[in-house]
Symmetry: C2
Subunit: 547 residues, 2 copies
Amino acid sequence: MQGQMMNRPLRIIDILLHAAQAYSDQGIVSARIEGDLHRQTYPQTLARVAQLAHVLTSLGVKPGDRIGTLAWNGHRHFELYYGISGIGAVCHTINPRLSREQLLYIITHAGDRLLFLDLTFVPLIETLLPDLPAGLRFVLLTDRAHMPDTPLDALCYEDLLAAQPAHFDWPEFPEDTASGLCYTSGTTGNPKGALYSHRSTLLHALQVPVCQTSSFRAGRRVLPVVPLFHVNAWGLPYVAPLTGMTLVMPGPNLDGASLYRLMESEAVFSAWGVPTVWAGLLTEIKAQGRIPQGFGDLVVGGSAMPRVMIEAYEAHGVIVSQAWGMTETSPIGAHGVLPPAMQTASPSERITAKCCAGRRLFGIEYKIVDDAGQRLPHDGQMAGELFVRGNTVISGYFNNPDATRAAMDAEGWFGTGDIASVGPEGQLTIRDRTKDLVKSGGEWISSIDLENAALSHSAILACAVIAVPHPKWDERPVLIAVAAGEARPTLQEVCTHMAEHFANWQLPDDLLWVEALPLTATGKVSKLTLRQHFAEYTHPDLRGDTA
Amino acid sequence: MQGQMMNRPLRIIDILLHAAQAYSDQGIVSARIEGDLHRQTYPQTLARVAQLAHVLTSLGVKPGDRIGTLAWNGHRHFELYYGISGIGAVCHTINPRLSREQLLYIITHAGDRLLFLDLTFVPLIETLLPDLPAGLRFVLLTDRAHMPDTPLDALCYEDLLAAQPAHFDWPEFPEDTASGLCYTSGTTGNPKGALYSHRSTLLHALQVPVCQTSSFRAGRRVLPVVPLFHVNAWGLPYVAPLTGMTLVMPGPNLDGASLYRLMESEAVFSAWGVPTVWAGLLTEIKAQGRIPQGFGDLVVGGSAMPRVMIEAYEAHGVIVSQAWGMTETSPIGAHGVLPPAMQTASPSERITAKCCAGRRLFGIEYKIVDDAGQRLPHDGQMAGELFVRGNTVISGYFNNPDATRAAMDAEGWFGTGDIASVGPEGQLTIRDRTKDLVKSGGEWISSIDLENAALSHSAILACAVIAVPHPKWDERPVLIAVAAGEARPTLQEVCTHMAEHFANWQLPDDLLWVEALPLTATGKVSKLTLRQHFAEYTHPDLRGDTA
């Protein structure tokens, strides 16, 4: 029997409509590329988002169209999130750190109709221009005074907005309408797109704050250091206005000193980002002798934070929690708020509990399976491949049936590629991974793509790329190669050969020649054996430390 | 274009599955009718709910069947909420305070297949038995040792549970599947049923804590004084486990001294109920000289709390917030947490802001219209009939097309019957009401039903019932009558005549004879004129105070 309740479509724009009414003095503070610190309230933001919706409509954008963004964290990027999805189009956030080849692939595969760019990225797009699809138009996220001299046929964002009325009649559409698109790179082959919906985004925004309770307080300030081009900045552009918080947007300067200054001047309460960034901030905190005023909550994701860094922040009175997630999970799938029972535990026990990947978020389900696909118990001991299910998890990749088939199991769960154990209270511990990936500074690098590129060098007969732990970047790729003949090209020579397919930071840090690669029983290269073999390996950039 | 995200049905049972895992040391404390203080964790509760689901299945309950409950606030009533909805059946909570006639109507109209009773209500059901539908079965919410001697063919709840396994494979069904049924009384004619769904209940449970942020802290304790038979106890049986709080269930004793004792011994942090109850608690607080330990948050609904009482609680350091809602809105439609801007306001300004009905909850929309149906601005001044819309609002009444037509407007909004203004920040202020209702102790009484019953007395020619303000009950009904001849029967005589249709507390407090009733331009009795005319009226039970 059906209930007799209204069925109203969940819509992203309703978050901003709510914030503009209920939290009218809160809003967005942005460290802009133009060099200023810009402030606007949520009511002002809503008015600009309405203007943007008129702009998009007048430029011929239709529901379902993909609109690309290449931008840092700032109020204009936030406006694009709401304006594009508000008219039923799809906000496609592009990671500018990818290689030229990946960027061209993504923009073409997504079928972007318009591209909104921060000034930083104008030179990048100029170099891509000859290979970009014909008919792609550009809007520069700045005002008339800062418009650069560029061969791009580019419109000016502020000019476009100024010409439009500040009210828009937001349309209704089914709640499973696509709202956002984000490509995940680093897995085998081309980047793959996660196509979020209004329903998935709204439910994520509601599920996160009922679990991640340490971070959300109406009237306080939250800093997304995690980029808005990186899986919806972990949902903060939605959760912050929903819970009445002001967003402090850091722009492009993410070094410790810049972040410290911004956090201090804006009294940031909660800050979210990858460990690499928090290492930089910690150095600045040590230099200053204290934490920025008002700072009390640190959410870490992307990769695991070392215990010693958690201890350092907690010693300063900052509550640290680690979250786990993926582009394919919207992204938060585990949160790091300790259960009530841990409130009376010793500091050491609490830190230990914080060293896992977090606990299951309400609304997502885990299952771990062995190699034969059999479910394993959630006893905190048994480890298997982690599969997830929930309204915030992809059901497939955008326009990519092959990748979809590879990712989903017969029961419709998504395979994360992580080897994990799950504790009885939902504690997730990532033990290893099944996919050939290197995680560097919170970004994925595909081992297999690197291997294929290296193999195309005539001097290399066989090779393997392994992830080697690194204190700053979490992991870095190292190339292990078997020579085809007498020639032993240098790392530099091999990297030059590979460079056209990769961004610089994706290339291996070292090249080690071996006589042969260890193989598994089925004849595949055994990465496990290689990793064990090179357990004592020291990265080139660290050898000075021990010299 | 559709997103590519999983579409998993929202299910109520997932809240308890989550709580049993994430908050395994939290649970339910119940002051039971048997006289003990019972404790069980959420994992223990989940096991019992699984047993209950097996019991229901073995008794032949099918998806969509309505299962009645007549019970106080306790863990067994909570178990019924989850066990019944978990198998796809409908938990029909019955208000035992209604008249015999209304109870018979509701049980019959709902088509209840089973009735779960607290021991308190066995005598009541025994008197109704001859008129109850044939085939209705009874389960007494107690153990074998406490089973009473009764002519009812009644099963024993604890015996039934004990015979079943503690695991259940919870089925999946569409999220709009009916989950709960609650009748609202007091409006014209027979009580009308609101039929909640899993979707509406889940969204309500997610929307309330992101707005009502003062009340929810994992590991703390919340006391629903509002009955579980009264609109889902304002959602607490769902929000408490979702947010990791322990529920303290007060059972039948809601006087100030009993509540104080329970709150003190259980360190209740947040307490929810109608002003009448908080008046009693305040008397006890004054007698004790302090508030119960740990008490910090008071949520008031059902009717407006007088300013002086808000001041008294806030002076003790308790954060007071007033919520507004209806059976038809799940119920919370407005919350009383002040906006961040008010954090620096003076205490007096803060209290003033707390005297309105609250602010718009995320997920619900308001519109106010004039008599011609035209929308009025939300400027905090203009008042009109309040209509609401949202996933937590009914789209109609259960099996009642006439009442549905009367309640819904042409745009599909639900008419609340309240005359209200809405401020620019979503502040709701109830100014008057369009429906002929008296609100006594948080319960509705229909003026029109009382008038019809009174008119059937041969000595009464015409009459009107008006709501007169009352310091304890908020409002009480007073009967104004025009005599048909010379006879002037007493209040007692008229009430005796009316008694079979009403519960005692629904009958008028006073009978005033007049020569004629004032009429409106269209010839209807002018309640407005009558209320003005009797503005100085003093209730019989208060006349001693001024004598």
